[in-house]
């Protein structure tokens, strides 16, 4: 641990954020590079698209049927 003497000449308030920030920036840069240069990494974060499209398709139909019911229920007060 003879490198501990670094804190005698480098202020910990400067050195520690610089060290931790450097680690964070390098880690983010490497992962961003993998994210942009591969197809499986973005696909992993996108999840299973087949399941999502199958679930998303019936949703407008449900909304439409609810809207129709609401119109029917709402129409009698207008006529009275």
């Amino acid at each position: 641990m003879n490198q501990g003497k670094i804190w005698l000449v480098v202020k910990p308030t400067v050195g520690l954020p610089a060290f931790l920030g450097g680690v964070a920036i390098i880690a983010l840069a490497v992962h961003a590079a993998v994210l942009t240069k591969t197809d499986w990494y973005p696909a992993y974060f996108s999840g299973n698209k087949k399941v999502k499209t199958a679930e998303a398709a019936p949703t407008p139909q449900v909304v439409a049927s609810n809207t129709a019911v609401a119109d029917v229920k709402g129409s009698p007060p207008k006529t009275q």
Partner: protein, 51 residues
């Protein structure tokens, strides 16, 4: 060259304080490295990474 353990350096730390701080830095780096190694092992096993 011996360093006076009671001398306060320009950073405001003495030699024992600096070595204590550095011990925590080393421990944190080791813990981070172990967690990162485990995460990369899982990524290697369960993703196409490096295959």
């Amino acid at each position: 060259m011996e360093i006076d353990p009671n001398r306060v350096w320009p950073t405001g730390l003495t030699l024992p304080e600096a070595e204590e701080l550095h011990r925590h830095v080393i421990e944190g780096t080791r813990l981070f490295g172990l967690i990162a190694a485990g995460a990369h092992l899982l990524a290697y096993i369960y993703t196409p990474w490096l295959h």
